[in-house]
């Protein structure tokens, strides 16, 4: 929202306070001023009203003429002028030597001095609107600005009259809880409190114009529901003539970004921005000549064309003003085009009302229409300002009209509703104040701050103070903590001293699991990615949670797996010429328990579980470019490289790999014969931790590459539950013995089943088993070489003892898998 420094100064004396100082104080004590900008060019006087008394041709030039201008009762100036729209007896702005106006060619400052133009003396300049920095609607482009008011006194200082002063605009976004400052008067009230200056009231005393009052109209107002509209007032004005908006009003409206339309509309907008009260004016002659005004909810199927020239279908959420049964405006939002004010409007009905905030909000939402007016009603207008504002508008209209229009008349104010508001008192304990802020503020300071803000003290003792809340703060002040804030900000947040926290009472536990896996993954050469947890339908599963109001189709479902995000990031980078892509993400996935329906869910529960997941993707090699040509890529390397990394992660998390099995799996996006589910087995339970695999060849075709892509995803919450730290085992000094055995078996027999068949026998001297070789002598036979380590912690093992164990293993494997042992 924009505030004019010049306008604010109407209500609080800002002399000696620069716009920048004002902005800074406001920022530290009330509202952030985001920017201070200037409005209008810097014009310097003397610029006066002068009357053209003669126009002669220039002896040496065709397009310029010699004028003589009277600038007071006696003094005349000879001025050369190139404009064609001037005539004798016109009153025009005259820039005298020493003044500075605007160069209309490049907007640079144009100093005026005595000069000779083609041999003729010129002692000043007759000015156009653009040379004075004012916008006009009479577009005599480049022509001299003709002052229409024939009563203007020659020699009048036009800097003041035309409001040619440069203005400063403060950009402030007042907070949602402070509707009282959505106006210049309201903001000035805040400034007055901060600077401890008196607040000047806007002129509203229409009794000054009582001779123009006449009972020419009798209006009848009815309100269907007082909750929608607690107060409604109207006033009639007749015999208006088409007058220009006074330059002060126009200038100020334009300065804060409001377009000037016509005198009456400009006045209603001016009052809105000055008093914070939205106003509306109807062209009375365009109404049905009915005295009956009704504030009611719209009927279904009712329509109105609003002044933005759009036909709007109304419904019962819309409050309307009806005249003779017909809607003439949407209450608090926008008027109807039929009764819109025009330049030729002669008779006007002015409306000032108080509409319920929620009602206007709902109405505005249902129409998808908001306005300066609705924004203020939605935040809540100050009830007692309704009539003041009507009087203010009336005052301004009369004040600017009577000089040129002695026939203007206004009616009495017709009103329905109650303006009285219940005010409340609040008490504040001085001890609570000091404890909350951590500084002791003396009671006199507290009282003075509250007074400045308009709180009147009702009662006071050494422990607490009771105050009455001013009417304009009823919306945001209600309890003692609200007073604490008021006192703190006027005292100055930056004047409150720092106070150390007394103790460090938390010593962090172990590194959390996320930090640990991230450290590991980065160490293995993976790059961490953060992907959107909102994913498009095409990457989602049909059980994923749907967002009802997505920002776009790309963010419509809540992910239940990190894989879609990984693949998307992979594709993004593959398209950018990366050859080796190693990615991981450690983040949450979300699963909805479908047995919980919205009817069985209590209002504090969601039925959603949030699971910490780890997923990784590897594509290509994580080695640097290998100029030694050592590696031989086989198609299986990708899978086993990733599996090895996952095994290391699990080991680093203290998971016993001997309890993990790699079982068959049927993930649709993974290679059907190159994927596994990762299962934790101990005697009491089987827990699925995740899955690993190569991407399905049919998906890989899209990547147009021969390199393999492998992925895994594991549930870290499940893993965390399995972490088991073994106690220390003493180190045996007896030697260990390695023996290699080579087994030929059918290819369908898995390494895992052979390994488990051996391990499950719990041979007590067998301490380790490792696969050290694999080859395939024929298509359906594979040959596996295992290195078995034997140790007896109490003595050196005899060869015979080892032979016995190996014989047991052999018999066991032959029985189970019909294998053959080489060399035995």
């Amino acid at each position: 929202m924009k505030f004019s420094y010049d306008w604010l100064a109407d209500f609080v004396d800002l002399s000696g306070i620069t716009p920048v100082e004002l902005a800074e104080k406001l920022t530290y004590h009330a509202f952030e001023v985001e920017e201070v900008s200037t409005y209008g060019a810097k014009i310097v006087g003397p610029i006066t009203a002068g009357k053209i008394i003669s126009i002669e041709p220039h002896p040496n030039a065709d397009k310029i003429r010699l004028t003589r201008v009277l600038i007071n009762d006696t003094d005349t100036y000879d001025i050369v002028c190139g404009a064609s729209n001037i005539e004798v007896d016109q009153i025009v702005p005259v820039a005298l030597p020493g003044s500075i106006v605007i160069n209309r060619h490049d907007n640079s400052p144009l100093p005026i001095k005595k000069s000779k133009i083609r041999g003729a003396d010129s002692n000043g300049m007759l000015c156009s609107a653009s040379e004075l920095g004012i916008s006009t609607d009479n577009s005599n482009n480049g022509g001299i600005y003709i002052l229409k008011d024939s009563n203007i006194k020659l020699g009048t200082d036009l800097i003041d009259l035309l409001n040619l002063k440069q203005d400063y605009i403060l950009h402030i976004e007042p907070r949602s809880n402070r509707p009282d400052v959505l106006s210049h008067y309201g903001m000035a009230r805040e400034i007055a409190a901060i600077f401890n200056l008196p607040l000047k009231e806007p002129k509203t005393n229409i009794n000054e114009f009582s001779q123009f009052q006449e009972a020419f109209i009798d209006l009848d107002i009815n309100i269907e529901n007082k909750e929608d509209c607690p107060f409604f007032s109207l006033c009639g004005i007749k015999n208006l003539t088409d007058i220009n908006t006074p330059s002060l009003i126009r200038h100020r409206l334009e300065a804060i970004g409001v377009r000037s339309i016509n005198f009456i509309v400009d006045i209603t907008n001016y009052v809105l921005h000055e008093m914070g009260q939205p106003m509306h004016a109807y062209d009375y002659d365009k109404l049905d000549n009915s005295r009956a005004f009704l504030v009611r909810r719209a009927c279904n199927e009712e329509t109105i064309t609003t002044i933005d020239n759009r036909l709007r279908k109304l419904n019962s959420t819309n409050l309307v003003i009806a005249n003779n049964q017909k809607a003439i405006g949407v209450a608090g939002i926008m008027g109807g085009i039929e009764s819109e004010i025009s330049n030729s409007t002669q008779n006007v009905i002015l409306e000032s009302a108080c509409f319920d905030a929620r009602s206007v909000r709902q109405s505005s939402r249902s129409l998808g229409l908001s306005s300066d007016s609705s924004l203020r009603f939605e935040r809540g207008v100050i009830k007692h300002m309704t009539l003041n504002s009507l009087n203010r508008a009336l005052y301004l209209i009369l004040n600017y009209s009577i000089a040129s229009n002695p026939n203007i008349k206004y009616s009495k104010v017709f009103q329905t509703g109650d303006l009285n508001e219940q005010t409340n008192r609040v008490s504040l304990s001085f001890k609570d104040l000091d404890n909350t802020l951590g500084v002791s503020i003396d009671t006199a300071t507290v009282e003075s701050i509250l007074n400045k803000l308009g709180f009147s003290v009702i009662d006071k003792n050494q422990f607490e103070i009771s105050v009455q809340i001013p009417l304009h703060r009823l919306k945001d002040i209600g309890e003692s903590i609200d007073l604490v804030e008021e006192i703190a900000r006027l005292y100055g947040y930056n004047n409150i001293p720092l106070e150390p926290l007394e103790t460090i009472d938390h010593i962090p536990h172990n590194q959390n699991i996320s930090d640990k896996v991230k450290e590991n993954m980065v160490g293995f050469g993976f790059n961490e990615i953060w992907t959107s947890s909102l994913i498009p339908k095409k990457r989602s599963r049909n059980t994923d949670i749907q967002v009802l109001n997505p920002v776009s189709q790309d963010h419509e479902y809540l992910r239940s797996s990190l894989i879609p995000g990984l693949i998307q990031a992979f594709e993004y980078n593959l398209a950018r010429q990366h050859k080796d892509i190693f990615l991981f993400e450690n983040a949450y996935v979300y699963k909805h328990d479908s047995s919980i329906t919205s009817t069985t869910l209590d209002l504090k529960s969601t039925g959603v579980s949030q699971i910490l997941s780890l997923a990784a993707l590897c594509f290509g090699s994580n080695e640097r470019q290998n100029w030694l040509n050592l590696s031989q890529e086989t198609t299986e390397l990708s899978f086993f490289r990733l599996k090895g990394i996952l095994e290391n992660i699990l080991v680093n998390l203290n998971i016993n790999l001997n309890l993990i099995s790699w079982d068959s799996c049927d993930n649709e996006y993974l290679h059907p014969t190159r994927q596994a589910s990762i299962i934790y087995n101990d005697p009491s339970r089987k827990i699925k931790l995740g899955h690993i695999g190569e991407i399905h060849p049919k998906l890989a075709i899209d990547y147009n590459t021969k390199q393999r892509l492998s992925l895994f995803e594991i549930d870290l919450d499940a893993v965390q539950g399995l972490i088991f730290k073994d106690s220390f085992k003493s180190i045996a000094n007896t030697p260990f013995v390695n023996r290699d055995i080579t087994i030929d078996c059918d290819t369908i027999i898995s390494h895992q089943s052979i390994k488990w068949a051996i391990i499950s026998q719990n041979y007590d001297k067998l301490t380790n088993l490792e696969l050290v070789g694999l080859y395939r002598p024929s298509d359906n036979i594979k040959s596996l070489t295992y290195r078995l380590s034997f140790q007896d912690t109490s003595k050196t093992l005899l060869a015979q003892e080892i032979d016995e164990i190996i014989e047991k293993i052999r018999l066991n494997l032959i029985e189970k898998f019909n294998v053959s042992f080489r060399g035995l």
Binding site: Y28, A30, F31, R178, A357, R361, N435, T436, G438, V439, E479, V484, E485, A488, R489, Y493, N494, I496, L498, E499, P500, L501, T503, D505, H506, P508, D515, V522, F524, G525, E528, W530, T531, S532, Q546, V547, L548, N549, P550, V551, H555, A569, N573, R576, D580, F582, Y588, Y590, S598, L601, L603, K604, T606, G607, V608, Q610, N622, E623, Q625, N626
Partner: protein, 347 residues
């Protein structure tokens, strides 16, 4: 044989041996030489064996001494030859094995943390050292935790569908729009005093542009105890800002409004990149807007129940992306979610 003959013979063997030794250019030849001239079966030894037959003691002694001298000399020369040859071979091997040490090392390509991870870890660490315990909360939330319990009334604009994502699960189930939900959840779980920090993902229905993304991350801090003050809040934030930017920076507070705190403030710190002179990072303001904070609103404490009666607290919240953008000079929030390796590789 006369002793003179023996002596001459010895001298000639010596000469022969030395000549032969000088031709030995492999370790095998050296070994053969040793066998030929110094072993038990060598000529030299044959002569020494015959010394016993010499009757004259003096002659025996003279010849013996001569033989020993020659033997020692041959041994010494042999050892020298061995040393020289070994040195030569080692040198040859060394020369042969020369590598271009400037060739690239062979290892894994380094992985990289996402910048937001680093910022989150950094923040968690700083607050941990100030005694704040890290806690986590759900992102799929209810109206109650996201709004009601936080003193955000039904008419507050933030509750509008235009700002918050609602889900298909139930009308009251939404994606949290702020991490302040964790305040309530933690207070419900734990008796005071409470000193927590929570870093997590939040969601807002906003069009994507350089400054806004529908998901982002916040840090939420909460301290509740029997007598907590605004001055302590200022102290805590001052410590955090100094630690985060690794410099002592002035802070300043401006009044602001949040439904769940009162008094509420917005905190700026001096721009560490331009010493308040104004630069691109601070939008030429000289100050950086860092976070929002305030004293926990009494209604919030009331909402969590009896355990918190008579307690007071402070809370603060800040945007992780914003802090990362400031710290690294990143000007477009979308970089964080594109996951371009050319971006991540820089951190």
């Amino acid at each position: 044989m006369t002793d003179q003959e023996i002596s001459t013979q010895l001298q000639s063997i010596k000469k022969e041996a030395l000549t032969a030794l000088s031709h030995c250019d492999t370790l095998d030849l050296l070994e053969n030489w040793k066998q030929a001239y110094l072993s038990r079966k060598s000529k030299f030894n044959d002569i020494l064996k015959n010394l016993g037959k010499i009757g004259d003691v003096d002659t025996k002694k003279t010849i013996g001494e001569l033989a020993n001298t020659i033997k020692d000399e041959l041994l010494k020369t042999f050892d020298e030859a061995c040393t020289t040859l070994n040195a030569k071979f080692l040198n040859e091997q060394i020369q042969k094995e020369a590598i271009d040490v400037s060739l690239p090392g062979i290892s894994y390509k380094p992985g990289h943390y996402h910048p937001l991870s680093q910022i989150c870890q950094n923040i968690a660490q700083i607050f941990s050292s100030l005694g704040f315990e890290q806690v986590f909360g759900p992102e799929v939330e209810t109206n109650y935790y996201n709004f009601d319990a936080l003193n955000i009334d039904a008419d507050h604009p933030a509750r509008d569908e235009q700002d918050t994502f609602y889900t298909s699960i139930a009308p009251h189930v939404l994606l949290r729009s702020q991490t302040s939900t964790v305040q309530i959840r933690s207070m419900e779980k734990t008796r005071p005093p409470l000193k927590i920090i929570s870093i997590g993902r939040v969601y807002r229905n906003e069009e994507i542009n350089a400054r806004k993304y529908p998901i982002f991350h916040q840090v939420e801090g909460l301290y509740v105890n029997s007598k907590v003050s605004f001055g302590q809040l200022k102290w805590t934030l001052q410590k955090f800002i100094n630690a985060f930017f690794e410099r002592d920076l002035k802070i300043r507070l401006r009044p602001d409004f949040f439904p769940f705190t009162e008094p509420s403030a917005e905190v700026d710190c001096e721009c560490p990149f331009c010493d308040t002179k104004g630069c691109k990072t601070c939008g030429h303001k000289g100050w950086l807007e860092i976070l929002g904070c305030g004293m926990v609103h009494p209604n919030v404490l009331k909402n969590v129940g009896e355990n918190y009666q008579g307690y007071s607290g402070f809370a603060f919240g800040m945007g992780v992306e914003r802090l990362a953008m400031i710290k690294y000079g990143i000007y477009d929030i979308r970089y964080f979610y594109n996951n371009d390796l050319r971006f991540i590789g820089q951190f």
